[in-house]
């Protein structure tokens, strides 16, 4: 291979001998070089040059269009202005990018030199190189004496293993540890169930059979880290015919007269499971189609979720409002390392 001149234009070499004819192809070589229009015709060259410049100019216009859309179109109440601005930003960016890209390719194809170049493949892994490398490694082992001096070798190993440990301490300082926050929510004994987003409390009599309420804990709208708390505490409240619920022992009083509350956070990857079918009593997660059956304490009946949705134990307070009896009895949402 090393001395082969395969592929050089016009010097096609045939290595086939009469007895090897069946094994090898005849190298066809490169097709004859064909000059392009722009190579032969001066006017065509000029025209190609103008075309490339025009494409670059279109790019300039695209950038200008973007800035006209960005600065010269003040947004007002109507969506028409927004639509016009979006159109100009999008088209402007598209023309700005495409103009440069298409221009460069057109330039390369029509005007840049187009002579064919061939390079032969160099020999793969010469034996001499491999021996050289082996010798270098052996020299290092010999000269450092690491085989003869186990004390040095072992202390080096120990040091190398310990040295990265400070990095763990530094990474730990990047933020507060999650602590117990993954296992607790805002729900607690006596916290009222309120409507999302208004935060008004819900009476048991408001929840008619077949209805679904989207629920947040009372006071959520006032807390500082509202979104973090909401992401854990959102609950879906539904009322069924009490006959259709089949609570397991110990969970009989977690609902109230057919009213049950379940965490809205999917146990798969945490999407809100809020698609409630009031006739089949199925809850569907829109992300990966995990389906939970309300009649079996939100057991998973389809899809990738591994655990049922956690139920929020509820009761009714003196004024007739629905309140939580306690926090969730298990962490809500998807699995995490320390969940246990």
């Amino acid at each position: 291979m090393a001395d082969s001149s395969h592929g050089a234009p016009g010097t096609s070499v045939t290595v086939a001998t009469p007895d090897r004819e069946l094994d090898e192809f005849e190298n066809p070589g490169l097709p004859p070089h064909r000059p392009r229009l722009a190579d032969r015709d001066r006017r065509a060259e000029k025209r190609a040059e103008r075309q490339v410049a025009l494409l670059f100019f279109i790019s300039v216009l695209g950038t200008l269009l973007f800035f006209v859309g960005y600065f010269a179109i003040p947004l007002n109440e109507t969506v028409e202005r927004l639509r016009l601005q979006n159109l100009m930003l999008g088209l402007g960016t598209a023309f700005a990018m495409l103009g440069i890209g298409v221009g460069i390719v057109h330039w390369a194809k029509t005007l840049m030199p187009d002579h064919e170049v061939t390079e032969s493949r160099h020999e793969i892994r010469p034996e001499r190189d491999r021996q050289d490398a082996e010798k270098i490694v052996n020299d290092i082992l010999d000269e450092s004496g690491i085989k003869r001096r186990p004390l040095i070798r072992n202390t080096l190993l120990g040091a190398a293993i310990l040295a990265p440990l400070p990095a763990i301490a530094i990474f730990r300082d990047l933020g507060p540890l999650p602590g117990n926050t993954l296992k607790q929510t805002m729900w607690d004994t006596g916290v009222r169930l309120t409507r999302d987003p208004s935060g008004t409390p819900i009476r048991a009599s408001d929840v008619t059979v077949g209805s679904a309420f989207h629920v947040i804990p009372e006071g959520l709208n006032e807390v500082e880290n509202k979104l973090e708390e909401k992401a854990k505490a959102v609950v879906l409240l539904m009322r069924l015919d009490p006959e259709e619920l089949n609570p397991s022992p110990g969970r009989e009083n977690w609902g109230y007269d057919g009213i049950v509350a379940y965490s809205k956070i999917c146990t798969h990857v945490g999407c809100p499971v809020a698609l409630y079918e009031q006739q089949t009593h199925h809850l569907l997660c829109p992300c990966h189609q995990s389906t939970f059956d309300l009649e079996q304490e939100c057991k998973v009946i389809f899809g990738p979720a591994a655990r049922p949705l956690p139920q929020l134990p509820i009761e009714v307070d003196d004024e007739g409002y629905l309140v939580a009896s306690s926090d969730f009895q298990e962490p809500v949402g998807p699995s995490f390392w320390e969940r246990g």
Binding site: R34, R36, L37, A38, T78, V79, L82, R83, Q85, N86, L87, G90, V105, K109, T110, D114, R195, D196, P197, R203, S205, D206, V207, T208, V209, G210, S211, A212, F213, H214, M238, P272, A274, L275, Y276, E277, Q278, Q279, T280, H282, L284, P286, Q289, T291, F302, G320
Partner: protein
Amino acid sequence: MKALSQRRRHPLAAFALLLMALLVTGGIYAAASTANEAQAQTTTFTADDVEEGSKLFSANCASCHGMGATGSDAAPSLVGVGAASVDFQVGTGRMPMQMDGPQAQAKPVQFTDEQIRQMAAYVASLGAGPAIPSEEILDASAGDASKGGELFRVNCAMCHNAAAAGGALTGGKFAPSIDGTSEQHIYEAMVTGPQNMPVFSDANIAPEDKQDIIAFLKTIEEQGSPGGAELGSLGPVSEGLFIWVAGLGVVIAFTVWLTSRSS
């Protein structure tokens, strides 16, 4: 008070006390449950309407819903579903049902407005239920579209899609697109919870809030896309299909052009 305490051993005292307790509980219950009561009957039905509706019902609906609308194996009882339910189901063509399936689908309406009103009158006469909403509460221009949008995203968007374009449920069921649905039918769907849709009673979403939701839906319906082609507002399904077909097509076309020789 002294007079009262003197008579506390009167033979009728226990009876009087029981009566008082009943009145108080009943009064509190009535006050507490008014929120669940349907809106004041705004469409007034005459006895003739009920009579005509009864005939229409017997001829068109009773084969499934049973004589007297008490239900059968094939269809639920209609006692207490209210006039709103009839107006929605028949007014959108869902009833009478074309064929058995995962859910009744909208199709061309089979009855005149007058006939629908008469059937609604008949079903409303069977038991109290949500009434057909009044004109004032359906006026989208009087609602707050921004607040309605927030309520829509919390209560409706998970099934009906953030742009109200509809979406899939389980087992072939789906939440339909709300685009082009009349204000009255949107309102009635919320109060009656047709098919697998949960009921959003007035105690859950107050009538004024429902008006805000209608205002939001009508606003996004009128204003259209904020830029570019909507592709049905279906999100990754239609957008993904478009980019795989059209986007990859453009990439392939560019590749072919890139590697072709210039003439």
